[in-house]
Amino acid sequence: MAEKYFDLDLDRCVGCFACVVACMDQNDTDVIIDRPFRQITPIDSCYTAKGKREYLSMACMHCEDAPCITGCPTGALRKDGNGLTVVEESLCIGCHSCAVACPYGAPKFDQEGRLRKCDGCAIRVENGLEPACVRVCPTGALKFDTQENLEEQKRAQLIRKITK
């Protein structure tokens, strides 16, 4: 199977929080004690390239050459068959090396100090379902697809705009 990627269309993300809550529902997040895997950061217009207010929905980026995997001394982190960065929680020793290596702040730790992170809904993906955050997204900003399909969708969008 071709690897799939998360893609966020910044022109379509409106900061509605649907993805954040859907992620909590999928992962039974207890917000009193757990840090959510996915978060939305609004960026004021004065800081964005387009001069427009933008919303950034972010969780684990599932980097191709993931520094957290390289950094993990016990092999608790690995890539699954779909290119998702997944964690074998029983191998985690809570050393936070992954958190130091991650440029996006994706690794979170539970009360026992063990790594908990977005696994891209790896089990759902293996069973032919979309990640919860992608399924819920009302504007279609958040996608999970192959590089080829993502490019194709962007082309189609552009053609629609030009042809009317």
């Binding site: 022109d11 379509r12 409106v14 900061g15 509605c16 929080f17 649907a18 954040v20 809550v21 859907a22 909590m24 529902d25 999928q26 997040t29 207890d30 917000v31 009193i32 959510p36 004021d44 217009s45 004065c46 427009k52 207010r53 919303y55 809904c121 790896a122 089990i123 759902r124 293996e126 069973n127 379902l129 919860a132 399924r135 819920v136 997204c137 009302p138 504007t139 279609g140 969008q157 629609r160 705009k161 009317k164």
Partner: protein, 717 residues
């Protein structure tokens, strides 16, 4: 894959025993109500997601719907019927049986009918709306004209503005519009199924004009954003008309043939030059003119209004009339891609198939009943709707003028919906008998004599139709929790026990639904055969220029720039046949003395994406999206007042004060403070006197009133 892993991923399959059940969400606005796939294991919902086959929501949800598990399994759920044993306003209740509750309610309400007349009993329905036709029928069958709803502060005034103009409610025909003018609405948060339509339009080059004081997400994607001062929408619309007429962009033929009062209107809009309008609205004259030209010059153009924001001003109906007139002025009215006259099929969905709903809800002539609550105060409301004006309910309970209201049967009543929340509290204290029927134990329940627990949408079966003709009759995905029942279980049980004059209602839900749906060719039984819904059988394609066949249902038979109905009432202050612009009653222009000490405009009622009124505060998932109650304030204002992010601030008016945190954000327009309205401990609606209302609709002026803001020093609060 092993079972443990499948369970961890919540994969529906034989091994896990997780089943997917179809349902709909009903947390928010009934025109959205997204489809649900509920993952159920051993009778418990363990995950929710959107139903892909649902053609309106197409597998998506918003943050509120995504939090449904915490809504359904909230520890705040009412569990059994209860009877008050302590003083009103306290939490002192004892559980009783359903039989005892029903007997008590029937005995009391039937008693008031004998002693004081049926009008002494008021029926109220809050959100959402699925039980409304049946409660309205029950009230009329009982003989009471005092059926009223949450629509006394939402939607109905927008409906009245359209009806005064053209005799019909209108909807934007968005599928094929070249220009979409979104007038104070942010569907990307409040009606997320519409998001895909909006982006599709944007992708295909439709021009999007947004009128909103806030830098909302829809304003961000607009081609033109008119950042308006709250309460000045009427002036903006008149200014656009000024540009359109002076540049001869109006449709002279349509105006001559199909409208009344154009000369007076054209004369009136001369005052509203772009420069004058810039002074009033704060929008640069040239940008306003550009928007007017873009809308008038587009081949087709639709206005997407909202149910609340513009009509939550003391001149709200007039302001929206001025806006809607632009559709007739430019000849885009009732044409493809414009705003088209529409009728309801079921509830308030314009689904394109015929039903008997109108006849079902209004089977008694209002003339045969006592005058409605509000009849003497808002005669236009009473002429244009078939409900009592709930905003005047506390007034009449307290004054007993023109007659006493002894009892209220409330479905989801929340006293914080009323401006001057203390006024409604006083009224609830005075009532002889108050029944509140709710999902959750709310603060308003503390004033009830009887509380009845109802279930959520996923625990019941209901019929629902949508704007595209799609219908569904859901089945309960799980059994009602605790001892809760559905709202309609209660309505139809009361229909058997109350002294009513109706043979249909005691026959129960299925017979009544089938009676309503009879012309549509749909029955409850046939609907239930389609688990994921179906398209209605006798769908009509939208018809255009219907006025050519049936004229306009207005006094003149034409579209009215000068309203024949408003003319009858123009002795009332604030009412005029023309769409006259008036500043908000509480504004520097109309109350300069107050303005000196209260330089800010306070605006309440705008939505946050994860909250709907007071419904989703109690859910930890949605509440975590903004963990502290905070008012939006512009960075410039904040700097001037020495306020930093999350500082404690005090917002005060001559009428009251609230303490809240500051959210310093460019979303807020300078000079305006935006406070979300549903926070449980912060009564922003209490900042207003109860008399602060639109004289046409009776709607409170929530969206613009004078106030002031100050930083609270540590230890002072």
């Amino acid at each position: 894959m092993d079972k443990e892993k499948l369970l961890k991923g919540k994969i529906p399959c034989k091994e896990t025993g997780i089943e997917v059940k179809k349902s709909i969400c009903s947390i928010c606005n009934p025109n959205s109500h997204c489809g649900f796939d509920l993952y159920v294991k051993d009778g418990e919902i363990i995950k929710v997601e959107g139903m892909k086959e649902h053609p309106v929501s197409r597998g998506t949800l918003c943050s509120k719907g995504a939090a449904t598990r915490q809504y359904v399994y909230s520890p705040d759920r009412l569990q059994t019927p209860m009877k008050r044993v302590g003083p009103k306003g306290t939490d002192d209740f004892v559980p009783i049986s359903w039989e005892e509750a029903y007997s008590l309610i029937a005995e009391k309400l039937n008693g008031y009918k004998i002693d004081f007349g049926p009008e002494a009993v008021s029926f109220f329905v809050g959100y959402s709306k699925w039980m409304r036709p049946y409660v309205q029928r029950l009230a009329q069958a009982f003989g009471s004209p005092n059926y009223c709803t949450e629509s006394s502060t939402c939607f109905k005034a927008t409906y009245i503005a359209w009806k005064l103009l053209c005799g019909s409610f209108c909807t934007p025909h968005m599928a094929s519009t070249d220009c979409l003018m979104v007038w104070s609405n942010n569907p990307l948060y409040t009606n997320t199924p519409m998001a895909s339509t909006i982006f599709k339009l944007k992708d295909s080059g439709t021009k999007i004009i947004v009128i909103d004081p806030r830098l909302s997400p829809i304003a961000e994607i607009a081609d033109i954003h008119l950042r308006i001062k709250p309460g000045t929408d009427g002036a903006l619309a008149l200014g656009m008309a000024n540009v359109i007429i002076s540049e001869e962009l109006h449709d002279k033929e349509f105006i001559k043939e199909w409208t009344a009062g154009f000369e007076d209107y054209a004369e009136y809009v001369k005052e509203y030059t772009p420069e004058a309008v810039e002074q009033i609205t704060g929008i640069p004259a040239e940008l306003m003119a550009e928007a007017a030209r873009a809308y008038a010059g587009s081949k087709t153009g639709a206005i997407l209004p909202s149910s609340a924001s513009v009509v939550h001003h003391t001149n709200g109906v007039q302001n929206y009339r001025a806006v809607f007139m632009l559709s007739g002025l430019t000849g885009k009215f009732d044409k493809a891609g414009g705003n088209i006259m529409n009728t309801y099929s079921y509830l308030e969905s314009t689904s394109g198939f015929p039903t008997n709903q109108e006849a079902y809800m209004h089977f008694k002539d209002p003339a045969d009943m006592a005058p409605r609550v509000g009849a003497d105060k808002v005669p236009v409301w009473c002429e244009m709707t078939n409900e009592a004006q709930a905003m005047f309910l506390p007034d009449q309970i307290i004054s007993e003028d023109p007659y006493p209201i002894r009892a209220v049967l409330g479905f989801g009543m929340n006293r914080k919906m009323w401006n001057d929340t203390k006024h409604m509290k006083e009224a609830l204290r005075k009532l002889d008998f108050f029944v509140n029927i709710d999902i959750f134990k709310t603060e308003t329940c503390n004033y009830a004599d009887i509380i009845l627990p109802v279930c959520t949408s996923v625990e019941r079966g209901e019929f629902k139709s949508y704007g595209n003709g799609y219908c569904i009759h859901t089945k309960p995905a799980i059994e009602p929790l605790f001892e809760s029942k559905t709202d309609l279980d209660i309505v139809f049980e009361l229909a058997k026990r109350l002294d009513i004059d109706d043979e249909l209602m005691p026959k129960g839900y299925e017979e009544n639904l089938n009676w309503i749906l009879e012309p549509s060719g749909i029955t409850m039984k046939s609907a239930l055969e389609h688990e994921s819904g179906f398209m209605a059988p006798f769908l009509k394609a939208p018809e255009f220029e219907k006025y050519k066949k049936s004229r306009f249902k207005t006094p003149s038979g034409k579209m009215e720039f000068a309203s024949g109905i408003l003319k009858k009432y123009d002795q009332i202050e604030g009412i005029d046949a023309l769409p006259k612009f008036l500043y908000p009653v509480s504004s520097p222009q109309r109350d300069p003395k107050i303005a000196r000490d209260y330089p800010f405009i306070i605006n309440t009622g705008g939505r946050l994406p994860m909250y709907l009124h007071s419904r989703t505060f109690r859910l930890p998932w949605t509440a975590a999206m903004r963990p502290v109650a905070a008012a939006d304030i512009n960075p410039e204002d904040a700097k001037r007042l020495g306020i930093e992010q999350h500082d404690d601030i005090r917002i005060f008016t001559p009428h009251g004060e609230i303490f809240i945190k500051a959210n310093v954000t460019e979303i807020a327009l300078e000079g305006v403070v935006f406070v979300y309205h549903g926070y449980p401990d912060i009564q922003v609606n209490g900042l207003l006197p109860y008399t602060y209302r639109d004289p046409i609709s009776g709607f409170p002026g929530f969206n613009s009133f004078l106030g002031n803001v100050e930083k609270v020093k540590k230890g002072e609060k």
